[in-house]
């Protein structure tokens, strides 16, 4: 099928042989492997450079996400990959460009795909600000423009594309007008049996612009002030080159909830708790032998 498959104890991944991009993800049971189609890549929105005196053309900046166009562009059609395997985990290292890369990681005992991204310094030599998003598409999940995000203090809230529950919306910004805060997760649901969730390690902006789409913004670098008060462009030039961000997304599908004791809701809440309250590591140099220490 043009895919390379990596199979662990609980999960399996399929990666396109030609592009190196994620194509499927599966759950391993005693009866075999159930694979689900999923596509994932990083895309970029070009930031509006804008005219702050015109309300419809204000620049994209610290306060305002305003892409200069209607759709996100490919960063690269292909990712170079390296496959890492061992007894505890397997990883696929993907490199789109020198400034966008990712590790897809599956631990043998876990039921979640870890995606550790590394983005930056975002190049600005072309004079265009850029906003980088991670887009996951489940082709077989029909969501009817509905998705769910959690906002601080408001738990999980239903969101419908181009719709507001309390007023008639005329959405003049097809992308930004559908972005919502994501404090810990974005969920898609196509009935009681088919759902998917993506969990974040920090608050981000996110949306679902089409059936089965999940989109989270991971990094942005912009060249113009948006005139809402900050007075400077969101152009952080650490080390003279721009900031680099590293973080994780966790991907889940309802098929992963194989235990009768823990359904999909239980699974994503449990994973969320583990992310929120991660163990704290500390290190003590020692001269003691193992035996003495024991």
């Amino acid at each position: 099928s043009g895919e390379m498959e990596l199979v662990g104890k609980n999960l399996a991944l399929g990666v396109d042989k030609d592009t190196g991009l994620l194509k499927s993800i599966g759950v391993v049971t005693p009866n075999g492997i159930t694979m689900v189609k999923v596509n994932q890549t990083f895309l970029r929105y070009a930031g509006m450079s804008g005219n702050n005196h015109n309300e419809d053309h204000r620049a994209s900046g610290a306060y305002i996400f305003r892409p200069n166009g209607t759709s996100a562009q490919e960063i690269s059609a292909k990712a170079n990959i390296t496959i890492i395997e061992g007894p505890l985990l397997f990883e696929i290292h993907q490199v789109w460009t020198p400034w966008v890369s990712q590790v897809l990681r599956v631990y043998m005992d876990q039921l979640v795909l870890e995606m550790e991204w590394l983005v930056g310094p975002i190049p600005i030599e072309d004079g265009i600000g850029k906003e980088i998003v991670n887009r996951v598409v489940w082709p077989d999940i029909v969501t009817n423009n509905t998705f769910y995000t959690d906002s601080n203090g408001r738990e999980i809230v239903q969101r419908v594309k181009d719709f507001r529950p309390t007023w008639q919306l005329q959405n003049l910004e097809p992308i930004a007008g559908n972005y919502y805060p994501v404090n810990s997760r974005l969920i898609l649901s196509a009935g009681p049996d088919v759902s998917a969730a993506i969990l974040t390690d920090r608050s981000q902006g996110g949306t679902s612009l089409d059936h089965g789409h999940m989109e989270l913004m991971v990094h942005r670098r912009l060249l113009h002030d948006d005139a809402f008060g900050v007075g400077e462009a969101l152009n952080e030039t650490a080390f003279g080159k721009g900031l680099v961000v590293r973080g994780k997304h966790y991907l889940l599908h309802s098929y992963f909830a194989t235990s009768k004791d823990c359904d999909f809701g239980c699974l994503h809440r449990s994973v969320g708790e583990h992310i929120m309250l991660e163990p704290v590591l500390s290190f003590t140099p020692t001269t003691a032998t193992t035996h003495t220490w024991k």
Partner: protein, 185 residues
Amino acid sequence: PRLERLKEAMGVLQHHDAVSGTAKQHVTNDYAERLAQGVAESFELVAEAYSKLQPDISGVEETVEPVFCPLLNVSSCPVSETSSAFVVTVYNPLARPRQYYVRIPVPEGVGYKVTDYKGDAVEVQLVPLPESLLNIPGRNSTAKHDLVFLAKDIPPLGFLQFHVKKSANIRIYKEQMSSVHVPTG
């Protein structure tokens, strides 16, 4: 009193421009510095708490305070990178038992013996860090691999400790090293 600095920093950072990231750069730098100072002082307090929870080992071993590595998020930790032996403490802030895959940044070309508190050997995998991470501007670390092992049954609101020791045995290094495959074409 040593928690006060972090409490005050967290109080200041409730301001909307800190929450949403709309502060001027020099203000953002100040926020980061306040938080870092607060966290550093809190680490000292946690280290003191650990020492009270452990049996008295004076006379057996020199007393050394645990070190926290706030740059583990970029796979950098001077203690694990330079020490020939160290103890890792894994604290579980959840109120129920859990397991956790511990990842520790270590240099290239060395194997490790990891032992749990019962004296049993723990299975280890050495995982190469992604090339892109090694090249990021400003990262100052000798780590080229993550040492990964599974900490099973960490007690609720409690900790497990592991003894980690470098091994000069090249066979151990080769056994622990992940297999790396770069598909051609």
